[in-house]
């Protein structure tokens, strides 16, 4: 919609894994049973540019929210690296603490001790899904917003802070600010609350905002207003967004690029409109086919679902391509196509660029096969348990 010129890269995530260990019982520990993990995020890589809106889409349980939380280090990270380019002031603070950036100004953020990560919390902020749960009901709006300023030591005096608060409330269109600053969250509507949550995220002027389903709890008629606020803020403040959603139509509307996740992995990544107009992964295709677009013709026919079964457990991930047990394409092609028969159930497909800017992890595409056969891509079989 409002496409803008994208800036330089500011975040590079490499092979991020978030595995949650399951508790073993006493007997299991004595018998030395192997430790089991929930593979919430299982090795994903992506880059984010300044002013970019990057979407993570997928069904519930695919790891999209965990990925967002991992960037703020709100979940324990199992392995992986994230290089982030902090702004100048933050960089100065980090250098005082003895953190040296690389020659391009990037700092690896997953390896930092919590104390040294703290200045970076100002640069990466989050907006949560539920505006009814994310605001403290006992705080007035000005207290909710002032807290951020106090924590990050922005603004010397109370008056100065109040001034910032009023400016930010105007940016999220809660006008006139004087009418809102003394209210409590329960005195606001859902849309207004979500705008307070957005104000709280932008008040420290971050470079990245992780927006976790920011409109899915809101009524249809006010969603567009919140999306517009987010788009305007990117123009105004040069913010980049990691936009997490399950709604592909919203992703198409607001995002520059989207990454489709399935069971902790990115299966397809590319320009938002191209991916939705011409999906290259069978899972993306199935997802798009399942979405009811408002059209009165829909009721006359059954929806053709190109997917079978249900999402497997993230503890025991299927070997090879994790989607193959549900893949209709695999079933059709395995008789005639030897590569499909051999590769899909045993070798995990790498995410490869099959067209300019379009990355897919599926052996349907010759390039992906060649990559594995030539041994360029690592040929690990699924995740070790």
């Amino acid at each position: 919609m409002y496409r803008v010129e994208l800036g330089e890269e500011i975040l590079k995530v490499q092979d991020l894994k978030v595995w949650f260990p399951l508790k073993r019982g006493v007997i299991g520990t004595i018998l030395g049973k192997p430790r089991l993990f929930v593979h919430a995020v299982d090795g994903i890589s992506f880059n984010l540019r300044r002013r970019e809106i990057f979407c993570l889409v997928g069904e519930s349980g695919c790891g999209k929210t965990t990925t967002g939380k991992a960037l703020l280090r709100l979940v324990p990270i199992y392995s992986g690296k994230a290089y982030f380019k902090p702004r100048k002031e933050t960089l100065a603070k980090l250098e005082n603490m003895g953190v040296t950036p690389d020659e391009n100004g990037f700092v690896e953020i997953f390896g930092l001790p919590e104390k040294k990560f703290k200045p970076l919390r100002r640069d990466i902020q989050m907006i949560y899904q539920d505006p009814y749960g994310s605001l403290n009901p006992r705080f007035r709006i000005k207290d909710i917003l002032e807290e951020v300023l106090i924590v990050h030591k922005i603004g010397e005096t109370k008056e100065e802070r109040l001034d910032i608060i009023e400016r930010v409330l105007e940016m999220v269109k809660l006008t006139p600010p004087s009418e809102f600053i003394n209210r409590f969250p329960h005195q606001l509507s859902g849309g207004q609350r979500q705008r307070v949550a957005i104000a709280r995220a932008i008040i420290a002027n971050p470079s990245i905002i992780v927006a976790d389903e920011p409109v899915s709890m809101l009524d249809v008629s006010i969603r567009a207003e919140i999306l517009e606020v987010l788009l305007n803020l990117r123009k105004l403040l040069d913010t980049s967004y990691i936009f997490i959603t399950h709604d592909l139509a919203i992703a198409r509307y607001i995002c520059d690029r989207i990454a489709v996740m399935y069971l902790g992995k990115i299966v397809e990544l590319g320009d938002a409109r191209d991916v939705i107009a011409d999906p290259l992964h069978p899972y993306t295709e199935a997802l798009i086919a399942a979405i009811p677009d408002p059209d009165p013709e829909n009721r006359k026919k059954l929806r053709d679902l190109k997917i079978k079964g249900e999402v497997p457990s993230p503890i025991f991930i299927p070997p090879g391509c994790r989607f193959h047990p549900r893949c209709v394409y695999y079933d059709q092609a395995k008789e005639r196509d030897r590569d499909i028969r051999d590769l899909c159930p045993s070798v995990e497909p790498p995410l490869a660029e099959v067209k300019p800017g379009r990355y897919v992890a599926c052996y349907k595409h010759e390039i992906v096969r060649q990559l594995v056969k030539s041994g360029v891509a690592p040929t690990q079989t699924g995740s070790s348990q």
Binding site: M1, E228, A249, A289, R299
Partner: protein, 318 residues
Amino acid sequence: MALLEVENLKTYFYTLRGVVRAVDGVSLTLEKGETLGIVGESGCGKSTLAWSLLRLVPPPGRIVDGSIRIDGQDITKMSESEVRRKIRWRRISMIFQGAMNALNPVYKVGEQIIEPMLLHGYSKKEAMEKAAELIKAVGLPTSILDRYPHELSGGQKQRVVIAMSLVLDPDIVIADEPTTALDVVVQAQILNLMKKLHWERKMSIILITHDLGVVTELSEKIAVMYAGKIVEFGTADQIFQNPLHPYTQALIRAVPRLKGDIHKLEYIPGSPPDLRNPPPGCRFAPRCKMAFEMCDKEPPLIEHEKGHYVACWLYAKR
């Protein structure tokens, strides 16, 4: 005579802070084998309307005026025990919002499905046979009957809840947001199932949803609700190809699409009125771009073209 005729129904909640007019003068008809979609945003009264049709309005709410006639019998005039014996689940049943999470965790699925049948005079053997038949009709293996709810996935539980609504072969099934908590793929499977049940059993369905995409999956006719009233009513084609009410028009333009050009989305400024104290006249007027002096008075539901009704002064003959 239509299967279901609702006339000027009013359901109010008598709270300590005032009377909430959740459903305020709703009229509609449903023919046998027809599907009706009721769309509206949260708080517009669509769930209250559904509860009223089953005479299940929770206190402090009650039906204060109007009639609900099923085959000509007014159920608002019946005693509670009569509704229980003759109407609820026999004639009209419901898939409640979030019901899949309300299955009793300590009873097996089969035991929960047969309960209403036992209360309505089936023997246990007959009831189990019927349960097995229904569980197959909703696309599940009969072994599910011996499982506990926690052993099932979300989609399976929703299928069980649908089977439960069918046990007494009702003429009308009300589905209140049957897919809201489900992922898109499972949602599509459930909607496919409901389509099949509608086609095979000639079942009348009232689908209540906030999702304009979901409503077109099932509904031949659509009623758009706003602040306790129906503001537009017509066939699905009429509503989507020629929306008349400014609210319907704005709602359709507020939804992003998967295909076609990307248009700037519209939004409706402001928020829905407080139903304790709704604005006089048209309730949408304070948020309406087209509002003019007539809107101070309440608009009647006008038949603008055949079968297409709208409550807006823009279409009144002046």
